[in-house]
């Protein structure tokens, strides 16, 4: 649907986007995830043909988009875009939604019906005559989606559509996007810094870091097999350990760290230096005395708690087992176990839950 090759964008001397190569497939939800300032917005603006790249090409449905403004306009009219900050014009909701149709010279007799359908899609039927500027943030963003969808675009681009919204409004919008993709088969490209949202919506994701596309793949690829430390940190893997493979028997390997050792699943041969990535929710914490509990986890490391960070319903526990290991446990189980800093606990993690990458940078 959209093919991007060697795309670069400079702002002054600074590289905002650096050698982006990406293919967005028809009918998929593709999320671009990355920290703020990584270049997500710049990339979306280039895809929507609002700006021109410094070098590189964007093909829309096989057609080169580097042409004259008139050609770019006709390609742009096959897409819809929703910005992070919903910009509604100071007219009624219906007039806001109708803009795309008016700009395209749609038959005025059809407009009210199509506006109504678009508002029905986003669940704002009956809001036609309201002034758009008086709506709540979530409602405005839904108006923005209706406004982008009213022309039945082939591609819907969204830049952090829920960044300024409360969790309930965000969920409404996420559900809406899934429905648009399922029912209307609209290709969706969504930029977000919110990992959970990226995970919830995407068929495929691209991780963008400092203007470079660090990894493109399925959710599983990115969450469980991140390419490199930066991606791992960003997708929420808190424990990244460096060690050397000691033995490897048909994929079951032991990796020695300075003062601990792990059993992992990898094809790396003995002697290889590797990095171990452990997602905090894969680590369980138990108390040594209650040793009766059974676990299939191959790695059970004894250590002392060095840090407890409450995160609402969860608590992030850092255990020093010779190497720091971070676990994410529920606040309730933390209370049941009576965890405090300085306590000696067992951190368990399955061999298969550790992602191993050779030759870390």
């Amino acid at each position: 649907m959209i093919r991007i090759t060697a795309l670069t964008r400079l702002a002054g001397q600074q590289k905002i986007l650096d050698d982006i190569n990406l293919e967005i497939r028809r009918g998929e939800i593709f999320t671009l995830i990355g920290p703020s300032g990584s270049g997500k917005t710049t990339l979306l603006r280039l895809i929507d043909l609002l700006d021109r790249p410094t070098s590189g090409k964007i093909f829309f449905d096989g057609q080169d988009t580097a042409g004259r403004e008139k050609e770019r306009l006709s390609i742009r009219r096959r897409m819809g875009m929703v910005f992070q900050k919903p910009a509604v014009l100071n007219v009624t909701v219906a007039e806001n939604v109708a803009f795309g149709l008016k700009f395209r010279g749609a038959n005025p007799a059809e407009i009210p019906q199509r506006v109504k359908l678009a508002l029905e899609l986003v669940g704002l039927l009956g809001f036609e005559r309201r002034r758009a500027v008086t709506l709540s943030g979530g409602e405005m963003q839904r108006v923005a989606i209706a406004r982008a969808m009213v022309t039945n675009p082939e591609v819907l681009l969204l830049d952090e559509p829920t960044a300024n919204l409360d969790p309930v409004s965000s969920e409404i919008i996420e559900d809406l996007l899934i429905r648009i993709n399922n029912d209307l088969h609209t290709t969706i490209v969504l930029a977000t810094h919110d990992m959970i949202q990226g995970q919830r919506l995407a068929h495929r994701m691209g991780v963008i870091m400092n203007g470079r596309l660090a990894q493109v793949g399925t959710l599983h690829d990115i969450f469980y097999e991140p390419k490199g430390k930066e991606v791992a940190r960003f997708v929420g893997i808190e424990t990244i350990l460096k060690g050397v493979v000691q033995t490897n028997e048909r994929g079951h390997a032991t990796v020695a760290l300075e003062s601990a050792s792990f059993e992992v699943v990898t094809s790396c041969p003995p002697g290889k230096t590797v990095a171990l990535y452990i997602r905090p929710e894969e680590v369980t914490i138990s108390i040594p005395e209650s040793g009766a509990q059974k676990t299939s986890a191959r790695n059970q490391l004894v250590g002392t708690i060095t840090k407890l960070v409450p995160l609402g319903p969860f608590i992030r526990v850092t255990v020093d087992c010779g190497a720091p290991i971070t676990a994410l446990i529920t606040t309730r189980s933390c209370g049941e176990l009576g965890l405090t800093t300085g306590m000696t606990v067992i951190a368990s993690v399955k061999a298969s839950a550790i992602h191993v990458r050779a030759n870390p940078a």
Partner: protein
């Protein structure tokens, strides 16, 4: 003290009895300034739009010059237009000196910087995301400009009303270009200046009250409009000028 009290009493008599001379002067004032304002707006809205939407060298300097001209002394404009319209001047053949049309021209020149400058501010006050949004919705350049001007409509209207206030209250251009000829070019401000000089305080006070009443109407109109404006838009108003 007596003169003031007699003056005020006389002024109310003139107003309540709809004195034809007073009415004629007030009507001519409103006619000339309204015409100047409408013509200035017709020039300033496209001109301000052009300056706002186009990128060119010296854009900032041009904006600064326009802002400086907000406070150009009315007598300087009067002098300039006088030189242009006088019989030996380049536009002398038009015969506009000492006519209401000449005064309209002078007041237009006086207020065009204000309306143009405030139109530029009004357009800059429109959320930058709006123009991106319009382009992304498939607007052509022209469609997007029309929409942004519409979005700034309230701030632009306030600018126009402010300019009308400056036009109707100025005396320099009216005196120098109009010449304060009775029944032809005598307007509120020039009449007040003349009648006061002649000791006819009652007449002056009556005209002064009418001028203030017109100012009141302007303020009320401004308030009605600005109450419909969002906070961002209000910044561009910058307050009234004398």
């Amino acid at each position: 003290m007596d003169a003031i009290i007699t003056g005020i009493t006389q002024a109310f008599n003139l107003i309540i009895t709809f004195n034809p001379e007073v009415l004629h002067i007030a009507a001519l004032s409103v006619y000339i300034s309204l015409a100047a304002t409408i013509l200035a707006a017709c020039i300033s809205i496209p001109l301000g739009g052009l300056i706002h939407f186009r990128e060119f060298r010296g854009k900032r300097t041009l904006k600064m010059i326009i802002q400086t001209l907000y406070s150009v002394p009315t007598v300087v404009v009067g002098l300039l237009i006088y030189l242009l319209l006088s019989r030996s001047g380049p536009l002398g053949f038009l015969g506009l000196l000492f006519t209401p049309e000449g005064m309209i021209l002078g007041q237009m020149v006086l207020i065009i910087p204000i309306t143009t400058g405030l139109v530029i501010s009004a357009l800059s006050g429109v959320d930058r995301n709006i123009s991106d949004t319009l382009v992304s919705l498939g607007a052509t350049e022209f469609q997007s400009i029309v929409q942004i001007v519409k979005e700034a409509r309230l701030a632009i209207l306030s600018a126009v009303i402010l300019a009308f206030g400056r036009a109707i209250s100025e005396v320099g251009v009216a005196m120098m270009i109009g010449g304060n000829i009775a029944d032809q070019t005598r307007v509120l401000t020039t009449a007040i200046a003349l009648q006061t000089g002649m000791g006819d305080f009652g007449f002056s006070i009556a005209l002064g009250i009418i001028l203030l009443a017109i100012a009141l109407v302007i303020v009320v109109a401004m308030n009605l409009i600005t109450s419909g404006l969002s906070a961002e838009h209000q910044q561009v108003l910058g307050g009234p000028r004398s």
